[in-house]
């Protein structure tokens, strides 16, 4: 009985949580312009999405492209900057280390709006015109802390002598970094990269404040403008459905694989 009630509670919550997503997914298979109006089964919206044959198509597709490009570049830079930073932070003396760790935590605690407004003021103050570069810089600033936090525990698990050993055996510092440190830190770097990447994909507020007025749109800002104009572009329905599915499959694969190989599925 207890078990039944528990299961029922969990499933009711899940149904409620997923109702809107399922609703969008169902209506991605009909052509109607208005959501909730079923005009028969059709895969035309999917076809439109892939062939780009739709109203305002170029702007939606370029928004998707911008989103992915910004996420990729900022996550890559975050990964490099964060890994090097983690090695440095790990070797700092206690007091300084605490101070830098505290600084590193600020972007993670700050709400998006504050991060967005503060960076906006920075770019205004420095007279930097806003666009692609400023958005990427902003995304690096909130992505890197996650890399640092993912790499630090890997450093703690590592034998501290092997880097020294490589140097003693004649490796240059850069060889020792790429051939000894990086392979040891790789799992932490990858989870940091994935975190930074998804944070960037997810972001709306920071992009909104740092994209300037050159008409740069990511998926979030596109959706925002679209919704304010009233009525979503119908092709967003199949796009959202595909994004839900991709994320769900990715999460299932990553988590179930790590559960099977018995490695703890933890970032640290």
């Amino acid at each position: 009985m207890k078990k039944f009630l528990a299961k029922a509670y969990i499933y009711i919550l899940l149904v409620l949580l997923y109702a809107p997503l399922i609703f969008i997914a169902v209506f991605s298979f009909t052509e109607s312009k208005v959501l909730g109006n079923w005009t028969g089964f059709s895969t035309r919206l999917y076809a439109n999405l892939f062939t780009g044959n739709m109203q305002g198509s170029s702007s939606l597709l370029s928004a998707v492209e911008n989103t992915l490009l910004i996420a990729l570049i900022s996550a890559l830079v975050s990964m490099l900057l964060g890994t090097i930073a983690a090695v440095g932070i790990y070797n700092l003396r206690n007091r300084t280390r605490q101070a830098v760790t505290f600084l590193n935590n600020i972007p993670m605690i700050n709400p998006d709006v504050i991060t967005g407004v503060s960076l906006f003021l920075l770019f205004v103050f420095l007279h930097i015109s806003q666009g692609y570069t400023t958005v990427i810089l902003a995304h690096i600033s909130f992505g890197t802390p996650y890399v640092v936090l993912s790499v630090l525990p890997k450093l703690a698990q590592m034998n501290p002598n092997i880097y020294e050993a490589a140097l003693d055996l004649g490796a240059t510092p850069s060889q020792a970094f790429w051939k000894v440190l990086v392979p040891q830190l790789r799992p932490g770097m990858i989870s940091g990269f994935i975190l930074a990447f998804t944070m960037s994909l997810d972001d709306f507020a920071v992009t909104f404040f740092t994209r300037g007025t050159i008409g740069l749109d990511t998926l979030s800002t596109y959706i925002y403008t679209d919704a304010r104009k009233g009525g979503l572009t119908p092709e967003l329905r199949p796009l959202m459905t595909l994004i839900f599915l991709i994320i769900l499959v990715l999460l299932l694969v990553i988590n179930l694989r790590s559960a099977r190989t018995k490695t703890p599925n933890r970032a640290r």
């Binding site: 070797n91 935590n105 640092v148």
Partner: protein
């Protein structure tokens, strides 16, 4: 070169892109349009009934949202962490999956669903949508703490004669408080600061504090916008101190 020096580029980066921007909020908040020191931005807020009202509503909605999320989320986290009741990793992933999907997208999906069901958008739909958006952020940290909790405490209490109810309230709940604190942080602060979400869920009827900041910045009222941002920073500081920042429970998991 010492290896501790490797942190220098990042410290420089943090100084420019994290510390300086926050200092600029402070500077702009206490300046007038021509760069002279003034307190008028702060005093303007306290005499601006529109902004004060929004501020009150935001705190109210955030508290309600946080409470509902705890009430709904705690039992869910407890069931998910209980090996006798749940053995499936997939259920847990289903619960945290929404955290990884753009909040704006999920919000719009919710608003569209309300529209189709002919439910008038307003306070009720705002709360429902907020709970829908933030529930995973409450469940996940609590689940994480419960899952890692040493089961021998509960067993010891049971052996010493505590009823299941007593074990739950006197052992499990106190030990899971770090998870609840980080859940509160993850739900309360974003609720106060979101913009866009509340407009979509209420058809522009209810604004939250984040929206007021955004409107001022967008209409080039930078100094007043910065002052409002500063006020929000103070609120965040207070919440963080009260809940004793424990984000590790949150970032501890997943991938």
């Amino acid at each position: 070169m010492k290896r501790s020096h490797w942190s220098i580029p990042y410290v420089v980066f943090l100084t420019i892109f994290v510390v300086l921007p926050l200092v600029l909020i402070l500077v702009y908040a206490f300046q007038d349009g021509s760069g002279h020191f003034t307190l008028s931005n702060i005093t303007k807020f306290f005499s601006d009934s529109d902004a004060l009202g929004t501020f009150g509503v935001s705190i109210e909605v955030a508290i309600e949202n946080t409470l509902i999320c705890i009430l709904l989320g705690y039992p869910a986290a407890w069931i998910l962490a209980n090996k006798e009741l749940n053995r499936s990793a997939v259920t847990i992933i289903l619960f945290i999956m929404p955290m990884w999907i753009n909040a704006l997208m999920r919000t719009l999906a919710t608003a569209e669903l309300f529209n189709m069901l002919d439910i008038t958008l307003g306070k009720g739909t705002l709360l429902f949508g907020m709970v829908y958006d933030y529930l995973p952020f409450m469940i996940y940290p609590i689940y994480n703490v419960l899952n890692r909790m040493d089961k021998s405490y509960a067993e010891a209490a049971q052996d010493l004669g505590a009823t299941p109810w007593q074990v739950f309230w006197k052992v499990t709940v106190p030990l899971s408080m770090p998870g609840v604190s980080s859940g509160i942080l993850m739900v309360f602060m974003p609720t106060v600061s979101t913009f866009a979400i509340s407009e979509f869920l209420t058809n522009n009827k209810i604004k939250l504090f984040g929206t007021i900041i955004q409107e001022n910045i967008n209409s080039s009222m930078w100094n007043y916008g910065a002052a409002l941002a500063l006020i929000m920073l103070v609120i965040i500081g207070i919440t963080t101190l009260l809940t004793d920042e424990r984000k590790e429970a949150v970032e501890g998991g997943l991938i």
